[in-house]
């Protein structure tokens, strides 16, 4: 490509909006905790959090929080606390980080803004089974109930109908339990609405990821990956779909205006697996200095709730 045709602008307009959404989420949850206006649930990424939103829970995601702690370079102190309590150092870092953060919070030694204290825990073992153990330990630390949704691997040998039945049965059990827990009747219309919001959020989220198919890309993936947060944590809100619609618009506008995120783009590369949250900046600078442009990652497609 002829460099001169293109203008390099790194910063995306949508970053500020994202920062606002994240702040509002964490801050809002702490406000809710203080006023006791809603019950707080901590859930794993692979759970039907829609059921909790439909029951008007404030929902927090320890995995996303652990990633944030990694990016803010405070995971290390959490991990040390956990290891001092007897956890082996080879256990999952998300888990050690999260348990360390909870121990810090309970013992009043947090060094970082906290998650709102939980009343209920929900987990699904579709990512791994260690996560159920992790949640059991959270349940023990906070002395609150937890609910696990058991998810078989999706392999060709299984008929989808039976997989769905299996998970659905447990979702209904969860609803029955939550009706008792909150003293409120479950509102299926509200669930319908929330599921629709989530589907719309993910649809626009995937559209945003699609924009990077263009060569040259309008943004490096380092600039986009943080936008996974609303798709997971805030997918139930109508604003989230709007955020991605605006993001997609911005990216497509950049393509039209021939705006690229970095000069010296020699190769387009793909990132497999979980990002190194603790060294995103260093990694980004290093790749850029080598003329390597990270354009996408399959890890982020996994979080589609379409």
């Amino acid at each position: 490509m002829a460099e001169s045709e293109y203008k390099v602008v790194r910063r995306l307009e949508g970053q500020k909006r994202l920062a606002g959404m994240i702040m509002a989420h964490y801050g809002g949850a702490l406000e809710i905790e203080k006023n006791k206006s809603k019950p707080v649930a901590w859930v794993s990424a692979g759970t039907p959090a829609e059921i909790l939103w439909a029951m008007d829970f404030c929902v927090q995601f320890p995995e996303a929080y652990a990633a944030t702690c990694g990016a803010r370079h405070i995971a290390h102190s959490h991990v040390e606390i956990t290891e001092q309590r007897g956890y082996e150092h080879h256990l999952c870092t998300y888990c050690r980080n999260s348990l360390g953060a909870s121990i810090s919070q309970l013992e009043g030694m947090s060094q970082f803004s906290e998650l709102a204290r939980p009343d209920f825990l929900l987990v699904a073992n579709n990512s791994c089974i260690l996560i159920t153990k992790w949640w059991e330990h959270l349940s023990q630390l906070w002395n609150i109930p937890m609910f696990n949704i058991d998810c078989p691997l999706v392999i060709p040998a299984y008929e989808e109908k039976y997989l769905v039945d299996h998970v659905k049965r447990q979702c209904l059990d969860l609803i029955t339990y939550l009706e008792e827990f909150t003293g409120k009747k479950f509102d299926y219309d509200r669930l319908q609405e929330i599921v629709a919001n989530g589907q719309r959020s993910s649809k626009y989220y995937m559209a945003m990821l699609e924009a990077n198919k263009h060569d040259p890309v309008p943004a490096t993936f380092f600039d986009i990956m943080g936008h996974n947060f609303p798709n997971l944590v805030l997918r139930y809100l109508p604003e989230t779909a709007e955020h991605y619609r605006l993001m997609t618009e911005e990216l497509n506008q950049r393509i039209a205006d021939k705006i690229i995120p970095m000069s010296n783009m020699k190769h387009r590369i793909y990132w497999d697996g979980i990002p190194y949250w603790f060294a995103i900046r260093e990694l980004s600078e290093k790749l850029e200095s080598l003329g390597l442009c990270l354009v996408t990652s399959g890890y982020f497609d996994m979080f589609s709730f379409e």
Partner: protein, 381 residues
Amino acid sequence: MEEILATFRDYCEKPYERAAQIKAAGKTKIIGCLPMYFPEEIIHAAGALPVTLFGSDDPITLGDGHLMTNACDQVRSSFDSLLKGKYDFLDGIAAIYICDQVRFYLEVWQLDHPVDFFHQMWRPYKWDSSTQEFFHRELKRLIARLEEFTGNKITTEKLKASIRLYNKSRNLMRQLNELRKEHPGIIRASDMACVVASSMLLPKEEHNELLAKLLAQLTQQELSAGKKQRIIAVGHPCSMPEREILDMIEDNGMLIVDDDFFTGGRYFSKDIALNDDPLDAIIDFNANAIPCTTGHYADAWIQPDKIYSPYAEYVIDLMKHGQAKGVVVLKEMYCDPYDMEFVLMKNRFEEEGIPYISISSGSLEAIRTRVQAFGETLQFV
């Protein structure tokens, strides 16, 4: 008696020799089962021989080119054995997605070294009524595949007969364990592990006969009560503990009176009921087995004032019943569920003032120091 024990040891030294002989004789299909919890009775009912795959003690070389080194020894060593042709006597392999290691690394097995008959099945991690229907379906899928593979129909009657045979085996092993509790030292822990492990390698019919002989000879033995401390040993939920370490424990002032090893109590402590519906009985058996650290016992976690670690409570009970003074925990390196549960268990030991020691990897000398020091502490308790 020494002669029979030597036979059991021999089977453990050459774990697949007997199965390979049977295979060579022609008629029986041999199915290797990855630990643990595989319903061997169903394979037996299909007229095939289930053999537990323990990997081998050899250094892992080929396997490391395929699996990451944070895979547990069990998975790495077994895959290494497969690549090296040590499992060539098998007609097929069967496994339950027992943990993350098995569940994710089996994909690598399949991609890098495909095997014709490789039956993988799911067993719930969450134990309550909601997960049983799918498990039932999985058992039926297993039956259908085995019938197709062996050409033998698995009738209810055949399955019940297999369950009866396996119950008999478990019963004999329980008798041996009871004898050990009454007369600690009557059989060394390392021999006990060999007895149980060999039952997973031989046809149960042969093993039962051999074990009955051993029991008859043992009961006639007179034993002098020494000054050694009674302890229980737990851990190795899906592998065989190193015999050197078991011997080391018993050579340093302690006697193992009970255990929950895969090659121990975990394998034989309960029977499968002889119900009209054997599949329901198998499900019940799994749901009520010794608490497994991979399991989530849903009812305990949804209520306040729950028992935080059903496994820890089980171990504490085991200790009380064995009138043991302490617990030796033998951890399998990189067994994540066990390492997680261990923290809850250790906290409970500390609450109850139970002396314990945990041993994972390390040089044999370093382990000797810990073991001997633990024996020394127990003498003061």
